[in-house]
Symmetry: C2
Subunit: 429 residues, 2 copies
């Protein structure tokens, strides 16, 4: 074993960073044996230097993250600050000063992954970010390395623990969205401002990263169709149950049937209770990967939290340290396929539509005509009504999202349709 | 991209090998882009050269595998022959002549992994074998790399598709073992001689490999406690159902509670229906990994078959080719922890025991005394009987396997115990 330690700079010392530091200290001998050299925490950049940080030598703590990454003797920078700036500038500065980088920053990688990979390549350094998607679940490495000889056709998963906790609570208790959100907030599963989670910005960033790696294509955050889950109601769950389904916020990355383009999207969807993703409870994450040769794989585990995220960060840290000792770099960005990313309208899916309609003869015929005119085939219709009010629940066969959206728009214009109570995509079949 | 192709020698062209060759041909451009150089099939060693092999240039086919691996211009040898010899000698010869090796050979790696890794290291070459355990499911790489910064405490899984198919059939149809085996054979899930599967030699080899990687310790095949599933009866499934359980053949690798030793075992066990492994159907595999920081992860997918296994082989092939271009090698064997492997008697588990007993007063007291004398605490007892015959079903709390085994031995000696109808371990709680 080489005796000169590898020096690690930690940017950020919150829930994840403090756990990374703790494990680096308590498991130092194991890490050294696995890497082939000791690793040393050489500096910790924080915003509040006066906070007491158990187990961290105060002499290592600094508020000057820029000076830390510029020191020149740092082998690996671990970035767990989050957000776009200053993380982005710190990472590119780290590359320019000879360090490799391990990051848990989904927003930054989704937005600037290509430029950051280019900066890493320019300086012959590594950029690893297993922790950016689905916490502790090994997903980036399996997609990038284990499936490197295969052709991935679909990635379908629950990649946000907060929203899964909320939806699971709604499903099991019959609670409404606000009530379930309040519970999640009280239990620490949702942040004070839950926007990034419930509006699916977080899941969209992860979908962009996953789609990019799965399809060897650059997928920008703007390429990802995004629909949050704040409009999901207890009534939607009741409708889902009637269909033998539940509702999950899904990230779905798909290669088109002809292989010539890909799509990426995040939205709530009904999935059958028999689908393994339906049984993913609380804040857990799970991701299905369908590929040509391997078939259907599933990866399941805790999608967030200090320790699980630290586990992913440290796995990357060991890999990056090994690469440094071996004078090599790991696999970087692979975007050679450069497939076009199609808009949401091109996605082929199914709709579950609840309509409030007038309770009189001929309504169903009118509605069915609208579907037919848009080339959307109906799978099932359920009609119920009393006192002049009625509801129609239509579940379609697979059609383009554009045709389905056009159908709904036309339905809204019918005199006999008083309102569209809900629209939900149906997936996982 | 470098233009000189990397040369691959394929040893074996059966179900897996032919699929590897097919994908190398049909996906050549993708593989080249991902590796950074073209890969070329430089030779295929087979036993029956006259067999028509679609898509493979007959000029590449040879019966002289030794000459092929000695050619000196081979970059990577893919070994999908299986068995100990000639695979072992061919692999060491390949290292000696400058090639890295990708293998799907669980029996060989379990038996001689340490020596083969040493041979690879000696020549500065790679030995990868993701396909040896659980087919297409990325498991070796996640354990060896993704969790390299974590401490794995437990690996619990279904790693043999044939036996899972048989047990699933017994569970869902009520069939006996022989009937279910016959069905599996007819459908091609079981081989003509199913011994390696049903006597759990195959699963034991996988358990040895998984335990070694998970615990950074050499675990020999002889260290793995092995119990096949040929004695599992329809009555056992009925008992399992009464407990809200099903029966699976599990591979279980555990770190002792004090962390000072490990165990590895393969045997049929009852697991609660609520456990995700209970829902692994047909020939699928699934493996739970519990680690200190990451918590509980699960990996699920097809555990066998030509295409899935080829997917794993090709993932390794891409990694090994990248390493060669970069002049590096990937992580090799890690056995630094060198923990002692404890015998089965030290394993802490629970027993489900069915006894045929005399239907008279005092029997339960006698039986309970035997448990108490061996320090085994009883969780539940269910007594039923008629016409002078009775049965007692005892489920224990956790105790050492030695204490549980001693209890059963003592029970057999009681006059009032006419027979021990079945013993099954209970796991997954």
């Amino acid at each position: 074993m080489r005796t000169r330690p590898l020096k690690v700079a930690l940017l950020g010392c919150g829930v994840v960073g403090s756990e990374v530091a703790r494990i680096m200290t308590t498991h130092a001998a194991d890490l050294a044996a696995r890497i082939g050299a000791p690793v040393e925490l050489a500096g910790v950049a924080v915003r509040r230097p006066d906070k007491v940080r158990e187990g961290i030598d105060p002499a290592l703590v600094t508020t000057d993250a820029t000076a830390l990454v510029k020191r020149g003797d740092i082998d690996v920078v671990v970035e767990v600050i989050g957000g776009i700036e200053p993380a982005r500038t710190l990472i590119t500065t780290a590359f320019a000063h000879g360090a490799s980088v391990v990051s848990a920053n989904k927003a930054l990688i989704a937005q600037d992954g290509a430029a950051l990979h280019a900066a890493a390549d320019e300086h012959g350094r590594d950029l690893y970010y297993e922790a950016a998607v689905a916490g502790a679940i090994p997903l980036i490495r399996p997609l990038r390395e284990s499936l490197a000889g295969d052709k991935v056709n679909r990635v379908l998963g629950i990649v946000n623990g907060t929203t899964n906790f909320i939806l699971d609570a709604m499903d099991s208790t019959g609670a409404g969205y606000q009530e379930a959100l309040d519970e999640a907030t009280a239990l620490g599963y949702a942040e004070a401002d839950p926007t990034a989670d419930v509006e699916a910005f977080d899941a969209a960033a992860k979908a962009a990263i996953l789609a990019g790696i799965a399809f060897h294509t650059r997928v920008r955050l703007d390429d990802v169709y995004r629909e949050g889950m704040t409009e999901v109601t207890a009534a939607d769950f009741a409708s889902a149950k009637e269909m033998g389904c539940t509702i999950k916020l899904l990230a779905i990355c798909e290669r088109a049937a002809d292989g010539g383009s890909v799509t990426a999207r995040v939205h709530p969807a009904m999935i059958p209770l028999s689908h393994p993703l339906a049984n993913v409870r609380e804040a857990y994450n799970a991701v299905f990967v369908e590929s040509e040769a391997a078939g259907q794989l599933m990866f399941y585990g805790p999608g967030a939290g200090g320790s699980p995220t630290a586990s992913a960060v440290l796995g990357d840290l060991v890999a990056v340290c090994r690469n440094r000792i071996g004078g090599a770099t790991g696999p970087g960005e692979s975007a050679y396929a450069a497939l076009p990313v199609s808009p949401m309208g091109d996605v082929v899916t199914r709709y579950h539509i609840s309509l409030d309609v007038a309770d009189k003869p001929g309504v169903l015929a009118q509605v069915a005509t609208v579907f037919a005119e848009h080339g959307v085939s109906i799978d099932t219709v359920r009609q119920s009504g009393k006192d002049g009010e009625a509801s129609l629940v239509v579940v379609t066969h697979r059609a383009s999202d554009a045709a389905l959206g056009g159908t709904v728009e036309a339905l809204r214009k019918l005199d006999t349709v008083r309102g569209v109570a809900s629209i939900m995509r149906v997936e996982g079949e």
